[in-house]
Amino acid sequence: MNARIIEVSKTVLALQKAFLAIILVVLAMAVFNMIPATRSEFFSQVNLVDLLKSSSIFLILAMGETVTLIAGGVDLSIGGLMALTGVVVIQLINAGVPIPVAIALCLLLGLVVGAVNAFVSVYQRTEPFIITLGMGIVLTGIGLQLTDAHPVTATDQGFQSIANTEIFGPVPILVLVMLAVVAVVYWMLRNTSFGRNVYAVGGDYEVAKYSGINVLRTKAATYLICSLTATLGGVMLASQLNSASSIAGDNTPLYVVCAVVVGGTSVAGGIGGAIKSAIGLVLLGILTNAFSMLRIDTLVSYLPTALLGIIIVSILWLDSYGRKRKREAV
């Protein structure tokens, strides 16, 4: 059992990179708070709840993306799908379709998109990143056509209560939905045959195949899951804002993939997890929030965007470099 303890502490240490970064950011903010010139509202309840709310949509999307990445695939259509779903759900509701039916139809849309992604990239063995990038363009185009590039707003006020109703104090349903998705994906990846097969397929495709795992079906299923979470994210985003825009998801896929990689999931597959991804997203969320709280953009406008870009590239660089080191060690 001693080895087990070492193993667990090792996992914690591995997590710690992103964890440690979060702690550092929080500490830094605390220090800044002591200086009058840089005092901010970072630690106010309003900001913390805001932080949670603004991270929730990305977290929901990241859960599906995590599953796809672990299986050795990637889905860059989640941004387009999220935006389109928001548009569709609001237009359906405005057309008089009952809210539950509208949401169900959107989930169906997600399944169809996932199935197409899976068919072309898994069963036809094409490179998933360009295929799903193309799918993202298709979906964004459909959204633009449906809305004539204007944002749409729900007329039924009941819709926005889905995400925004506050249950535990100031914590809205949206956050609970997010927590539920994280919990389900966490459980699925850890405790179901399917979840373990996802790791096997991404870890070593050939070995998984020879072990009798239906590799194609497993991989295909991850695209369906990814599309479903993107759809759910789209519905929640539309409900949260009570409006939707067909271009809302433009930078979403890259942001989500990078956050997931920050958390310790590799773009090469086989490694990762729901909690890791969540930590990665929280880190990027806190950073963005801290930048805005400190009003860095008043020093140089758009500096936060640049910093975020540099952080993202550094993370991707380190991910590749780690693999290079491993290759050369053999």
Partner: protein
């Protein structure tokens, strides 16, 4: 034949054949394996052992013949089906997912059936305990030693209630202690009535713990004998037996001075290897797969990054940090894996040939395409490469012609040292002879050759001198004109 009182056969292989394009990998092979016995299979590389195992596990399909296992006729099985039937194979390249835990690897693809997380680890623990392996089941496989990985594979085999476990050269990367552990486990498995097929190069192991041994050569079963009724020398003779003199051109003469001297190359795999090569000489390098022979020439050629390396060319120290450096110094290498490392399949024959002299064909950045065509036409003619034209894609050529094109690539730069790593692998007899003639011509023109080959007769007939390499060390030097195949083989197998 096997002793009469032996139990009924568990596995019967009857008259099985399998051909690949240009090669007859298995030729009417017949074999029986009985429960509770360790059945050794020996043979040179390419004797057909691996093909046979892959047919058993369902990776390949046999062309003809019949296989019966445990009373069932096996016709077409998938690897999974064969495992569920109780036939497990432990490959040399281990079949484990490195990024997953030990326990999960044992029950890969059977997570829920095995009782989920808790069940998997508990059952894996029990299986590992039963073979005396103490590895923590939560540990990630990538962190295990090769020996422990093998134990995990054995546990995996046991988890299927295997009746037959095939071990494909399990000892190739084990230390002595680890080997002792494996032998102990083999004895335990045997006591449980499990049959074991033990594929090995190492005769010590065959004589150490095998009950029966089958010798294979060139896709044939030469003989199956009780280990107690065969001697080492008999076995070696059976393995290397064949020599057909006129398959080879007469051996070229050599009396040049030293051109290349490796003062020492050390890596994880190689231990301070020293080597000399004379002008006009063909130096044969004999060693088993995994002995370090390919690593040695790759390090020499700058293909792998190596820290400790000291090389003299014409007595002067040279730095070789990349293949480009090597080529600039007049070294050339025909790599082991033609498809992955040698050919550019989607490109024309002409472009495959010009590759190594491309820099020379370039004037102020421009490639002299006319010169390129004439070079390729010259090589196509000189090497008798059968292709419709130099512009044909090399993909559509036969293996022998592809290999000749790769040789042509290097001949064009008139290499001072040509490294040939398995130059005749998977090539038909006619093309082989042409390649031998070419080698002869190269040394007659003043080049030198380092020849790696798993075909001992080839090395014996073509080389002026033979070095054996074993376990990352050069451990013997022979004059092939006087040394016998058995002597050299014995050295490469490290016993004398």
């Amino acid at each position: 034949m096997v002793v009469a009182s032996a139990p009924a056969a568990l596995l019967t292989i009857n008259d099985v054949s399998k051909a690949f394009p240009g090669v007859k990998a298995l030729d009417h092979v017949t074999l029986e394996v009985r429960p509770g016995r360790v059945h050794g299979i020996v043979g040179e590389n390419g004797a057909g052992k691996s093909t046979l195992m892959k047919i058993l596990s369902g990776v390949y399909e046999k062309d003809s013949g019949e296989i019966t296992f445990d009373g069932n006729v096996i016709d077409k099985v998938t690897p999974v089906e064969s495992m569920h039937m109780g036939l497990a194979i432990i490959y040399q390249e281990l079949n484990l997912v490195n990024t997953m835990s030990v326990g999960e690897n044992v029950f890969l693809g059977r997570f829920a059936e095995s009782g989920g997380r808790a069940g998997v680890h508990a059952k894996a623990r029990a299986l590992l305990d039963s073979i005396g392996c103490k590895v923590d089941t939560h540990k990630q496989v990538s962190e295990l030693s090769v020996s422990d990985k093998q134990m995990v594979e054995i546990a995996k085999a046991l988890s299927f209630d295997s009746k037959l476990i095939i071990m494909d050269e399990p000892s190739s990367s084990l230390t002595n202690d680890e080997m002792q552990k494996l032998i102990k486990i083999i004895h335990e498995l045997k006591a449980k009535g499990i049959a074991i097929i033990y594929i090995s190069h190492k005769l010590d192991e065959i004589f150490g713990f095998c009950d029966v041994v089958t010798v294979m050569r060139d896709g044939h079963v030469i003989d199956t004998r009780d280990v107690s009724s065969i001697t080492r020398n008999e076995m070696i003779s059976m393995m290397v037996g064949r020599t057909i003199e006129n398959e080879y051109p007469p051996r070229p003469e050599c009396a040049g001075e030293t051109i290349l001297e490796i003062k020492g190359i050390s890596t994880r795999k190689l231990r301070d290897v020293k080597l000399t090569l004379r002008k006009g000489e063909i130096l044969g390098l004999v060693g088993l797969v995994g002995s370090g022979r390919t690593e040695l020439v790759r390090a020499l050629f700058g293909a792998d990054r190596v820290a400790g390396k000291s090389i003299l060319l014409d007595g002067k120290p040279v730095e070789i940090n990349s293949p480009k450096d090597a080529i600039n110094l007049g070294l050339a290498m025909v790599p082991e894996d033609r498809k992955l490392q040698g050919l550019l399949l989607g490109f024309a024959v002409e472009q495959n040939i010009s590759l190594a002299v491309l820099a020379r064909l370039t004037k102020r950045g421009f490639i002299d395409t006319k010169g390129e065509s004439s070079i390729s036409d010259r090589q196509i003619k000189a090497l008798n490469i059968k292709t419709p034209s130099g512009r044909t894609k090399i993909r559509s050529l036969s293996g022998g012609n592809q290999q000749k094109a790769i040789l042509g690539r290097w001949l064009e730069m008139s290499p001072r040292v040509l490294i040939l790593d398995e130059p005749t692998k998977g090539i038909d007899v006619g093309a082989k002879y042409e390649i031998y003639l070419l080698m002869k011509k190269i040394v007659e023109d003043g080049g030198s050759i380092i020849l790696i080959s798993s075909e001992l007769p080839e090395v014996l007939h073509m080389s002026n001198r033979v070095n054996t390499i074993c376990d990352g060390r050069i451990n013997g030097e022979f004059d092939p004109a006087v040394a016998s195949a058995d002597e050299i083989m014995a050295k490469a197998f490290e016993f004398a």
